[in-house]
Symmetry: C2
Subunit: 338 residues, 2 copies
DNA sequence: TTAATTTGCTAAATCGATTAAGCTTAATTA
DNA sequence: TAATTAAGCTTAATCGATTTAGCAAATTAA
């Protein structure tokens, strides 16, 4: 590594002090009353020597790493990948870099990644915490480390959050299925310990009750995070047995697995069963039947999350003052439930 | 931030030197002849004071940041997201963290991201460089910064590379289409300035020629990176006009857009046109017709890439000694071309 | 003419680690 | 008993920046 030039090098070449060089390079010439002539000399020399600041040194001294960490469940899941993408875009507008890790939706990995990133002195976190990570969030708060929770919400701990209106989304999606003359609407859900997911189901219930449709427990299926095609298949078979003519999938991962099952079972969408899925996928336009979806405003969520985090890093929130942004979703209706 | 305890704090509490504490905490007690008793005392105190090393300081001093940077085109593209996922997994086995950025397939952004990461003293790069970034690669080499190029290959500059056998993949995919009795096989391609893509087309040509099928230039379509549905639509309409009964898409993004077009055009897959796509997607199992695909061994590619990069970081390659790993692809044949 | 102020710059501490070199004792050897 | 060697630590420099406090010369004010 052909040794980068440092402030010291520049100072020596110019026969001035390191402080002066540092002031100039940080645009503090005016403030520090460095003469224009000297300012120019330093700037020219810096350019000539191809000076690049060492951010490690800078960060060590200032205590700011200009890096935020993003912990999601799994970047290879398109829903999370989109978050990563938009958060990177937003962060870059603040000249921040993003470092990421996957929790695989386990609180152990989540806690471990938090530790690692704390040691690396990230300035803050954007988190999609797995079930049961309340303690970790409380710990972060005690340590006064800035963070924003996205997509989820933990009732027992107040934090900054950016979520969608899951209740409303579940409610409206179910209404749409009702409008399609479906009488036996099932909901296939996952990670129901998450408030986010509970709200989706709550919205579903409200839509049914409001329309005088009985809520049948046999039509409500909760799967574990570690679900595979088989568990989805079982759930689908069971709700079909109960006479389901409509299904609301609360995640696209569930839905994608579900579609495989439909093909295998010879179920026709939407004739036999109308379908709506949370999270719009590119795939939904080209599935055997195009799929209707609840579209989460991921770009906007990312924008809000980064905005709040930056404000937090700058210490601009009072103690106990938290923003809880709740955004509306949109819907795209395709042949699976027009 | 409740001020983390430092080595200095531990040393003071124990009335010993910082050096001693550092030695113990780095497991060098034996080597540095620190007594067992003292070692235990330090370890206990570190635990008691909840000591967490400051990696910025560590990195500044040692010149190793234990971070690698990954620059891809776009993390929200599932193909790249998978790379990110696997590279993170592999890096973590070496206790390395991954920091990433999207180039959007432009060499300007690519160069800018490289700069930023260099300033942040990453230990090395895993790169999927956009068209025309040879100069940047050469620059990295001059600066002796470790990097590995993945998925692509630039003939004018020798580097470590991990790619698939694109020629073979294009060849075999085309063969399969021929075996399906397709006589007018089209190839819809993108970014043809990339060697990777050229090889896929070359494989396609060879398969045709070997089977005495004329290569018709009207059946070969090259799109620009910034392609949208319209450009794909145009390409599809043109090859259909030329009597195409089979299409090989050289990326899944092209294919996904293509499938939308097929629906709109009322083209039946595989009756009218047989289809194979590079890169297997989750979606391909649930498309109107399940899609056959060239499956890239992304996990393996990531493994090799990280292995090489680590070896490079440890300085274990001789000057001008480069590994060029070329992995075989697999195929999954579904109804679109059985 | 002297004191006060301003201008333009420097010295040195600091961030939190690592590490080469050296300094006391105690133990061993001659 | 004196000279070596080893054991067990410590000192201080260093990585590459930032930043507080202060100094000398030039300028202005009284």
């Amino acid at each position: 590594m052909s040794k980068n030039s440092t402030i010291k090098d520049i100072a020596e070449r110019l026969g001035v002090s390191k402080a002066l060089v540092s002031f100039v390079l940080n645009g503090k010439s005016e403030e520090k009353r460095i003469s224009e002539k000297m300012t120019k000399k330093v700037l020219d020399m810096a350019k000539k020597m191809n000076y690049k600041p060492n951010y490690l040194a800078k960060s060590l001294r200032t205590g700011k790493s200009h890096t935020i960490a993003l912990i999601i469940a799994d970047i290879s899941n398109p829903f999370f990948a989109k978050f990563a993408r938009y958060i990177e875009i937003e962060a870059s507008t603040y000249r921040y870099k993003v470092i990421f890790a996957n929790s695989d939706e386990t609180k152990e990995k989540f806690a471990a990644e938090l530790e690692v990133f704390k040691n690396r002195q990230v300035d803050g976190f954007i988190l999609i915490p797995p079930i049961g990570s309340e303690d970790e969030l409380v710990k972060l708060q005690k340590e006064k480390i800035p963070f924003v929770v996205v997509d989820r919400l933990f009732k027992s701990v107040s934090t900054h959050t950016v979520t969608i209106n899951n209740f409303q989304a579940g409610y409206e999606a179910t209404l749409r299925l009702l409008q399609n003359n479906r009488k036996n609407i099932a909901i296939i859900n996952v990670n129901n310990q998450l408030f986010t997911m509970q709200q989706r189901v709550k919205g579903y219930r409200k839509a049914l009750l409001q329309n005088s449709v009985d809520v049948k427990s046999g039509l409500i299926k909760h799967l574990k995070f570690s679900h595979d095609k088989n568990s989805v298949l079982k759930a689908i078979q069971q709700v079909i047995q109960q006479g389901a003519d409509g299904i609301l999938f609360t995640t696209s991962k569930l839905a994608m697995l579900g579609f495989e099952c439909f093909s295998e079972l010879g179920v026709n969408i939407p004739k036999d069963i109308a379908v709506i899925s949370f999270d719009d996928m590119d795939a939904y336009k080209v599935t055997f039947t195009p799929i209707s979806a609840v579209v989460q405003p991921i770009a906007n969520m990312s924008k809000e999350a980064v905005r709040i985090l930056m404000k937090m890093i700058e210490g601009k929130y009072g103690k106990g003052e938290y923003e809880n942004i709740m955004l509306d979703v949109e819907f795209v209706y395709r042949a699976s439930c027009l």
